[in-house]
């Protein structure tokens, strides 16, 4: 209010002494009038842009859905689009904040025993399924002992650590573990352990159950309709257990197969939200410059994707760590981050993402240094031939968007400078998955989710007993270091936090020296949303959260 300030700076009377009202009365009167008017204006209600405004109820949210999921039953399928939709209909026992600390969800409080072998969860009361049936501890027991171990590979691995699951009463569940497993508290996120309704699935063929076309969960939104190829429609759950929530009336998930069309849809305001890699990095700067769109990278701390070059150790010279170290020195990660991913990512330093628990930063650094790379290759005895080529490797381009094609091309250029010739091989996602899982590759890009804890998403890539042909997200490189295996195994059952960190730190240091894969970036996905949307990202799973807290400014505000 500069006018007010200037008025106040000037003395109310023109000279010191007793108040000479008559002399300066006109100016004095004018000043008082102006102040009165200003105060009147200030006392009027502010326009609706202040932080502390009231939440607006109702309205519709439109979210991009790409690709269309095969099913919405979260217990049967956990790909990202399924999570995006099903995360509004199903819930897990816990939620996690941006630092991966557990928060209540269907479990309102919990206790972990001293020895870390008994976990007791106390459930929320008054929770019902979408069909009106009451939610009880029986559903948890059924989900964790029968349903998920049958259908969900990640949950199967998690619950192989569990001895028994019992329900002393309708509101309490007790997990007894076979041995300590400190990561257990991080596994109750909705896509890792979605709670399924026992009264619908018990004693049925889960994959062929009639109700698979009508998802029933406990979440704030209910399934309304699915027009294949077009959209999925969810509506507000009137009987949601959190009082007064959700705020939205409907959510539509729109299927838009073309990348340019998705960007246009955000521009024209026909959709409100995009997530994961719906929009590729090169489109993000243009969209973030628009006044009605915001971009944020929070909300992916739980998945924490780590992107690397996966390299098959079964072929020389890839079996020699010096070769892999040389490649690591020859790639400029900052260039990749800034020019291929347009700033969407953090330079990776090792196997654990910096937002995942137990991250260790004190490891050997592979700064961009082509001379060191050449020195290592010389040491290996790989002399350049008449064309300057020291080694030829085939690189399978990851079919996950234009960005990875550019990354492959950059890698080819960068490595040719140190004498490694890459021949690029293109394929589609089925062909890529087939080749990778059957070890029919030499080098490729990959990115893998970490799920908050090295025991849940990191160790699987590096341990010897996860070398399994035909299985994706396993140790496809064929790397085997017994010491690393021992460290991971010990850390997974170590209850003492300091000892556990020491073990994981040692494992990370050894891995960074061995370079089983060449870590490039901690990927950041852009969540792009219209400014009319509020409270979109509130937990570590971002847009795959229930959206109970999301509200939108309606037309006319």
């Amino acid at each position: 209010m500069p006018i007010l300030g200037r008025i106040l700076e000037q003395p109310l009377v023109s000279r010191p002494g007793p108040l000479n009202v008559a002399r300066g009365s006109a100016a004095y009167l004018a000043t008082i009038t102006i102040m009165a008017v200003v105060l009147l204006i200030l006392s009027m209600p502010l326009p609706a842009t202040a932080q502390t405004e009231d939440i607006s109820r109702g309205g519709t949210l439109k979210v991009i859905l790409q690709p269309e999921p095969p099913t919405l039953i979260l217990g049967l399928n956990q790909q990202a689009p399924t999570q995006l939709v099903a995360g509004k209909m199903y819930e897990g026992l816990l939620r996690y904040d941006f630092d991966l600390n557990p928060m209540p969800s269907l479990a309102r409080k919990w206790e972990i025993s001293e020895d870390g072998m008994t976990y007791t969860f106390h459930l929320e009361e008054g929770v019902t399924w979408h069909d009106g049936e009451p939610f009880t501890s029986k559903d948890i027991v059924f989900t964790t002992t029968k349903f998920l171990p049958e259908t969900h590979p990640r949950a199967r691995a998690i619950f192989s650590n569990v001895e028994t699951v019992t329900a002393p009463d309708d509101q309490t569940v007790v997990f007894k573990l076979k041995k300590p497993f400190p990561a257990f508290i991080l596994t109750f996120e909705v896509s890792s352990v979605p709670i399924m309704p026992a009264h619908i699935y018990e004693n049925t063929d889960y994959l062929n159950n009639d109700m698979n076309n009508q998802p029933i969960g406990t979440g704030p939104f209910k399934f309304e309709s699915w027009e294949r190829g077009s959209n999925i429609h969810l509506v507000r759950n009137e009987n949601y257990w959190q009082e007064g929530k959700p705020y939205l009336d409907d959510i539509y998930f729109l299927s838009i197969p073309d990348a340019a069309s998705r960007a246009l849809a955000l521009e024209t305001g026909q959709v409100d939200v995009s997530s994961f890699n719906n929009i590729e990095p090169f489109d993000v700067p243009r969209l973030s410059a628009l006044p009605h769109l915001e971009v944020e990278t929070k909300g992916y701390e739980f998945v924490a994707p780590m992107m690397w070059i996966e390299i098959n150790h079964r072929e020389a010279p890839s079996d020699d760590p010096r070769f892999r170290q040389a490649i690591s020195y020859a790639l400029d990660r900052e260039f990749i981050r800034d020019n291929i991913f347009f700033g969407l990512g953090r330079v990776a330093t090792g196997p654990v993402n910096s937002v995942t628990t137990h991250y260790e930063s004190d490891v050997r650094k592979y700064d961009y240094d082509p001379d060191k790379a050449i020195a290592l290759l010389d040491e290996m005895g790989l002399e350049p031939d008449s064309d300057g080529v020291r080694a030829s490797v085939e690189f399978m381009v990851m079919p996950y968007g234009e960005t990875f094609t550019r990354l492959a091309e950059y890698s080819r250029q960068a490595l040719s400078k140190v004498g490694i010739d890459l021949s690029l091989r293109s394929t589609d996602s089925a062909g890529w998955a087939q080749a990778l899982s059957n070890w029919d590759y030499e080098m490729t890009n990959d990115f893998v989710y970490q799920y908050g804890h090295p025991a849940l998403g990191v160790s699987r890539t590096y341990v010897c007993d996860n070398i399994r042909k035909g299985v994706l997200f396993s140790n496809t490189m064929g790397y085997c270091n017994k010491e690393v295996d021992k460290l991971f195994a010990q850390a997974a059952v170590e209850n003492d936090a300091e000892k556990r960190q020491a073990l994981y730190s040692k494992a990370q240091q050894i891995l960074v020296d061995d370079v089983p894969v060449i870590w490039l970036l901690e990927m950041e996905f852009p969540t792009i949303y219209n400014t009319r949307v509020h409270n979109l990202t509130t937990t570590a799973i971002g847009t795959t959260e229930t959206f109970a807290d999301v509200w939108v400014e309606q037309q006319g505000q």
Partner: protein, 325 residues
């Protein structure tokens, strides 16, 4: 009439044999692509183990020997059952027939638009051959033909949706609009304008060029000179004498195109997020959903073959000198 019946009878036998060949060839081709639906779903899940992949393979019936899978599929199709998609957990017939009307609507209207406009412009160009109208039309046709369809589509969206805001950018109808009756028809019509324009411009160019050259050829014939000598006006000469004779090449091409349009609108369907079977086939290919892909191939093959028969029958209607054989 008997001739037509005999003709149809012969054709139907040929159709059965062709369909058999199509099924066998497509089945083998699809299986040659690396990967299978189980590995695709495992990749999408973000986590995997042997049990998961094995379960899927068992469900999808992928563990039987290939000839056995082929034989059982052929028998199944012969009985009219297009199979079951394990990925989507629905019968293939439902999946395909659900998406077919959207494609038929789009391609049907685009076809009529392209044919009508193409013949109109082509005859106009022929009538004004050598003059500026002819040059304009010919150049425009060349541009429409040479420019990639998806680029045209995106440019139209940029102009009409983003800049001018006149038309919706994508989709079949306004999501959540809840329109009924006439309002719904108007809504779908608004969504149809840009895709029809995009798809139609390309084919219109072809018809225009074809009509133009065909009409020019007929113009030089004696019976046209006779008609003019009789005193008939130029437009009557065109519509009642020239066009019918000039239309045979156009009809041939239109018959082939009609078949293409059924399965070939995938670029337009992708750009405009149109829920048709072109996109269904593309997605099924990427997901290795064999049953759905084969189902789409069978339906589109049948439609192409049907259009071929209709074209052949139409020949004899337009030109009685041609007999169905």
């Amino acid at each position: 009439m008997v001739k037509v019946a005999v003709f149809l009878g012969h054709r139907l036998v040929k159709i059965a044999l062709i369909m058999l060949a199509i099924v066998i060839i497509n089945f083998s081709l699809i299986r040659m692509a690396p990967g299978d639906p189980a590995i695709v779903m495992a990749g999408e899940a973000g986590a995997s183990d042997e049990q998961y992949v094995e379960q899927l393979r068992e469900r999808f019936g992928l563990n039987d020997p290939l000839p056995q899978q082929l034989a059982s599929y052929v028998l199944q199709v012969a009985q009219g059952d297009l199979g079951y998609s394990y990925r989507q957990r629905r019968p293939v017939a439902d999946i395909v027939l659900e998406r077919l009307p959207a494609t038929l609507l789009l391609t049907g209207i685009a076809f009529i638009f392209a044919l009508a406009m193409g013949v109109l412009l082509g005859s106009l160009a022929a009538m004004k051959a050598g003059r500026w109208a002819d040059t304009v039309i010919t150049t425009f046709s060349l541009l429409s033909y040479a420019t990639p369809i998806f680029w045209v589509g995106l440019m139209l969206i940029l102009l009409f949706s983003v800049q001018l805001g006149w038309l919706p950018a994508f989709g079949y109808a306004s999501i959540g609009g809840g329109f009924q009756g006439l309002k719904h028809v108007a809504d779908v019509a608004a969504h149809l304008v840009l895709p029809v324009l995009t798809l139609g411009l390309f084919y219109m160019a072809v018809y225009a060029r074809l009509t133009r050259s065909s009409v020019l050829e007929v113009y030089d014939m004696d019976f046209v000179k006779t008609a003019r000598a009789k005193g008939i006006s130029e437009s009557r000469v065109m519509y009642f004498h020239v066009l019918r004779n000039a239309s045979l090449p156009v009809l041939t091409f239109a018959g082939i195109q009609a078949g293409h349009l059924i399965g070939g609108s995938i670029l337009v369907e992708t750009v405009f997020a149109w829920p048709g079977i072109g996109r269904l086939a593309f997605d099924a290919l990427l997901q290795r959903d064999y049953q759905v892909l084969l189902g789409v191939f069978i339906i589109t093959s049948l439609m192409v073959l049907t259009f071929n028969i209709i074209t052949d029958l139409l020949y004899s209607v337009i030109d009685p000198r041609i007999e169905v054989a």
